[in-house]
């Protein structure tokens, strides 16, 4: 499976990753060879095999509906790039 430059650009957009234009070709090559590796999966027939999500096929444990967390805003916001009035700030989102 080979990718084209436009494929790389649109995947990069989906993943919100900036890639320099002059690096796109390099990514095309790298990603194409990785995909070639991955295509080896088609060598085997897996029809009817139940997909495995969790290695132990375990099921979800449920938590009681209790408030167990207290307010730690100051501690958490100490490491934030831009906060004001208790809010995380980002460039204006237009809706």
């Amino acid at each position: 499976m080979t990718l084209k430059s436009d494929d790389v650009r649109s995947i990069a957009h989906l993943a919100r990753l900036h890639i320099e234009e002059d690096a796109v070709d390099h990514y095309v090559d790298d990603l194409s060879s990785i995909l070639a590796l991955v295509d080896q999966m088609n060598q085997v027939d897996s029809q009817g095999v139940k997909p495995l999500s969790n290695p132990l096929d375990a099921t979800q444990r449920l938590r009681d509906d209790e408030v167990t967390e207290e307010n730690q805003r100051d501690k958490f916001q100490q490491i934030a790039p831009d906060v004001a009035e208790g809010l995380y700030r980002v460039p204006r989102v237009i809706e």
Binding site: R63, F76, R89
Partner: protein, 489 residues
């Protein structure tokens, strides 16, 4: 005014097709995947713990009560419940979505196909299908007008459990859509899984609206309407959108599949400019969560503990309590109203059910509305109302006087009996006393007597009015009527 604006189902050659997506915030104490509080109104980011913030290394653990509430809803709409429900990640970037994905459900939603009966107009009934209902976490909130050039993000709401209820595109008018929304709203409150507060955002309706030529069975392109926070706006938004789409198609254009925001001030829908073209959400099962096992006995236990639901209640009111379909529908629409009615009925004579219903829906409902009170805050208790109604039934007071008594009760002057005694409002039923009044009135109005005797039936009303006036409303109207006729012969 166009046919669409009247909300009338007939839009000429065009048929409206509507599906609703309702997000009901579940009334748990803690978040769906963390132990932070869900209480409304806290200062920004004071209820966003490490898990809600999506800090590196944190993990979700599922809230049992959210699961139970979802199952309760599923059972109430006769839906199938998935025995191994799976959470999936819905991947997209937005500042109020801290992890860059929302934990939601894709394949294997907890609640499968169900249905609910709606009454869009008096006497009308329709079954609306529900495609599925699934659990997911809510996102945070963005505040756009506090800082110049920047938006502020509050993640208190992030992680609040939501039940997303998706209807089949079964509705054919704004009225039907509103009836459906109201029914679901009533149901989630009955089930005590959601407080239904649309102002606070705990009950959100998005409408998918499309039109097609009548007779077509293919669905037209739909627009998704958002930002609707009342039933009134839901109706208006849909009506506006239907008319807009009709205009587009009649002008030879095509409807674009898009999200549109409803602007209540201008009463119009607008395209969301910043919204992406079809997002690729890259759903996959969340590897931090495991499939949720729900057994038949879990479901049976929840079913057994269900309160009587609106539809059952309504049918019971009709068949056992002799109420009209209309009154039964209105009384059961709100669980608290139904409970008030039932409390009153329990104290009253069985024959008074309709009378009670009318007082609750009419005078009491009106007074509550005007004062902005919930029925649970009514200054008149069910028992007190029952006493008032009994005094009309036993002819202690007339219906008209009863309204005066009601107003006095509302003001806190006491019970019906207290007020009747204090104000001397007992009906006059003594024939002798009434006859005396009648004699006085007849004597005072010889012209009208002549007119009546000459054949003018209407004049009787004048005499009745005069007698009632003389008795300050207390004379029994029926007796007045009968005795007057006698005397005027």
């Amino acid at each position: 005014m166009s046919a669409a604006q009247t909300g009338h189902e007939e839009t000429g050659q065009w048929e409206t097709v509507i599906g609703l997506e309702i997000h009901a915030q579940l009334a748990t104490s803690s978040k769906i995947f963390s132990g932070a509080s869900t209480a409304y109104g806290a200062a920004a980011n004071t209820q966003a713990c490490a898990v809600d913030l999506g800090l590196p290394g944190v993990l979700p653990v599922l809230n049992r009560e959210a699961v139970r509430m979802a199952i309760r809803f599923g059972v109430a709409i006769d839906a199938s419940i998935d025995h191994q429900s799976v959470f999936a990640r819905k991947n997209y970037f937005y500042p109020d979505l801290p992890k860059g994905y929302q934990i939601s459900q894709f394949e294997h939603p907890i609640v499968g196909k169900g249905q609910i009966s709606i009454s869009p107009a008096e006497g009308e009934h329709k079954l609306v299908g529900i495609t599925r209902a699934h659990l997911e976490e809510d996102a945070g909130k963005s505040i756009h007008d506090l800082f110049p050039e920047q938006s502020g993000i509050d993640l208190n709401r992030a992680g609040t459990p939501l039940l997303e209820i998706v209807s089949e595109p079964d509705m054919r008018s704004a009225r039907e859509a509103v009836a459906y929304a109201r029914k679901i709203h009533s149901l989630v409150r009955y089930l005590e899984i959601c407080d239904g507060n649309m102002q606070e955002g705990s009950f959100r309706c998005d409408a998918n609206v499309s039109i097609r030529r009548r007779g077509d069975d293919k669905l037209g392109t739909r627009a998704e309407l958002k930002n609707i926070n009342s039933f009134r706006f839901l109706e208006r938004a849909i009506n506006y959108e239907v008319e807009r789409q009709i205009e587009v198609l009649e002008d030879g254009g095509r409807v674009v599949q898009e999200t549109r925001l409803y602007d209540s001030e201008r009463d119009e829908t607008r395209s969301m400019r910043s919204k992406e073209e079809a997002n690729d959400y890259r759903y996959f099962p969340d590897p931090d969560l495991l499939p949720v096992n729900i057994s038949s006995s879990d479901i049976a236990e929840i079913r057994a503990a269900l309160p009587e639901l609106p539809e059952q209640k309504k049918q019971r009111y009709i068949s056992e309590l002799n109420l009209s379909d209309y009154n039964a529908e209105l009384l059961t629409a709100n669980r608290d109203t139904a409970l008030y009615f039932e409390a009153a009925y329990a104290e009253a004579d069985a024959t008074q059910s309709a009378v009670l219903a009318n007082w609750i829906l009419g005078d009491l409902g009106g007074a509550l509305n005007k004062a902005g009170l919930d029925i649970t805050e009514s200054p008149i208790s069910p028992a007190a109302l029952v006493q008032l109604v009994a005094r009309i039934a036993d002819e202690t007071i007339s219906g008209k006087i009863a309204k005066q008594v009601f107003d006095a009760m509302w003001q806190g002057e006491g019970s019906a009996d207290d007020i009747i005694a204090a104000r001397g409002l007992r009906q006059i039923t003594d024939s002798g006393a009434i006859e005396t009044l009648i004699d006085e009135v007849i004597a005072a109005n010889p012209e009208q007597v002549e007119q009546f005797r000459a054949g003018k039936e209407k004049v009787l009303g004048f005499f009745v009015g005069q007698v009632m006036k003389e008795s300050r409303g207390k004379a029994n109207p029926g007796q007045v009527n009968a005795l007057l006729r006698d005397k005027l012969k």
